[in-house]
Amino acid sequence: MKSYSNQRRLSLIFRYILLTLLAVLWILPIIWIVLASFSYNDTGFVSTFWPDKFTLQNYIGIFNNSQYPFGYWIRNTLVISILSMIISTFLTISVAYVLSRLRFAFRKPFLQIALVLGMFPGFMSMIALYYILKGLNMLNLGGLLLVYVGGAGLGFYVAKGFFDTIPRSIDEAAEIDGATKWQVFVHIGLPLSKPMIVYTALTSFIAPWTDFIFSGIILSTSGDAKTYTVAYGLYNMVHTTKGNATAYFAQFVAGCVIIAIPITILFVFMQKFYVNGITAGADKG
């Protein structure tokens, strides 16, 4: 009996060691990014793990950089992400609710068309979007907002999976009592889907902070750094052709850490919804 419990303890210790090792492996690059943001560095390159010299200068520098107006980027991104959050959430939840709870002739074809459209690589439509916005004279933040919001109607899968799990008998009971479908939507559907609304809102809020491709294509033509979003601005800092990537590399890392902190907090908060979303969408197909 004793040897059995010993064996179990040994196995537990072994598993803890393995888990700790893996956790260190996963978290180390992130710690390194944070360390690099504090390192004194003017070579445009971080070649050591532990910085030779610590400094706060990078954080001060990124806010006072006249060539890369970080403050404007944050303001732009905040405005875009809040507007996009409100509109996209409304669109996504409407479409998901309709497709999950209501029955109408166009429902099946719409689901199939959405599936097919989703299989075209997103980059393919980028040139077209560029020309559409150019034609509308909207190669600016407003156009970018339209791009983020325009596709929201197709991102209904996770929310639809959620609505599918709410029993339909609730709706039917309300309808027998004389409620219109609109009343069912407003007074039953929406209150029940609060977690889903929070999840959809957070995902669409985060998207503009991490997208450097669409924002780059749409905003780069203006050439005015004050109109960039955070993601494209930062990306542009190290990938610019003007060749000053080296001078500002440490400031780039500091800027990245600044925007990664709120996103990380939001992400930990919505982790639970995320898992539910993936698994709910998984078995519905």
Binding site: R8, R15, Y16, L19, L22, A23, W26, I27, P29, I30, I33, F45, V46, S47, F49, L91, V95, V98, L102, F104, L117, M119, F120, P121, F123, M124, S125, A128, Y131, I132, V147, V149, G150, G151, A152, L154, I176, T180, K181, W182, F185, T210, F212, I217, A231, L234, Y235, C256, A260, T264, F267, V268, Q271, Y274, V275, I278, T279, A282, D283, G285
Partner: protein, 451 residues
Amino acid sequence: MFKRKHNPPKATYREVFSKGSAATKLSFFLMGSNALENKQWVKGFCLMLSEIVFLIWFFLSGIPTLNSLATLGTVKHKRVVYDAAQGVYVTKQPSNSVLLLLFGVLALMIIAAIIGLYIVNLKSTRHNYVLKRDGEHIPSNGEELASLLDTRLHATLMAVPLVGILLFTVLPTVFMISMAFTNYDRQHPIAFSWTGFQAFGNVLSGDLAGTFFPVLGWTIIWAVAATATTFFFGVLLALLIESKGIKHKAFWRTIFVIIWAVPQFVSLLMMAQFLDYQGALNAILQNLHLISHPIHFIDNQASPWMARITVIIVNMWIGIPVSMLVSTAIIQNLPTDQIEAAKIDGANSFQIFKSITFPQILYVMAPSLIQQFIGNINNFNVIYLLTGGAPMNAKYNGAGSTDLLVTWLYNLTFGQEQRYNASAVLGILIFILSATFSLIAYRRTNAFKEG
């Protein structure tokens, strides 16, 4: 159900037209007149107004737009012509085929929309006719509007999202598909023409074939390897965290998931620095005296397979946490009776994993695995940010050894090559690839489900 919908006997359109009132007959030509006759004012006016606006647009600008869609502009090259009216020579700029094509596609969509409205109009006319014939109550203007919040709520809620999808997804997609049938490239940057399947020929058997097939091969290897590794190790990690005796499970999970919160353009660009020839990893390995010379992991001097394997390993760093989260949710809901029975029969934990847990998870996760596989075929970020396609391959045309079809597509459009038609062809081929795989996979999983 108590409120069975009223289902009147059908009438053919022929009957509606021959027996209907004058306004009903007129409805076949002037949309909405039947609705107006029945005092459904809002519906009638909207339908009629859209037809009038459409007809004005169609004759003033629709026909020329469609004509130039057929030719994509008549002036193909910049040339100097003699203007007899003014008696001077003027330079004629080539037509802007991109805009002509875009407006042409838009015009086709408008025509499709008006045909849709016409069908709606006919259906509503027939409905009203049948109600009148059978002496039933015809919905009034107010009732028609109220139904938008009840029996036709779907139309109300879908209207705005649908416009967004049409303008920002369908229009660009159709536009790009048509671009694959033109000669829009560096030689024809402004005015281009329809060339049929020529661009497909270039990619499949012409000058790009030598790049296309190797890149396609690597894309498939990458998608299989990336999906399989992240799935397998994600399941193992989930089992490890879920195993008996481990405390603070949520804390461990969060540690692994944190990397998902860091924007990928940050974490992957920094990873590229970390793996660089002069980067931190080489420095650490040298300090530990594990290697005597720095290794080329992902830079231009790296060997192709070194770079490819590095990319797959870095992708495990990104991808394992996600499949860990998904399989955790599944593991928590797995029936335990089989495992208990196997334990009593003396199976060890490896046997249990191999014969019970893993197959069960695989079965439940099959649909999301397909999604991941397609996601990996289109995994732009990892390749673009980490290697940018490097190491360059002299045998390839505009692509490197780690380039996937999507990153190559991106290079062909935004890089030096500027072969827009070829990139559109690639987009269509990627679509065919994804569609084929998901079709096969959905069929197989459905077969499983039916049992």
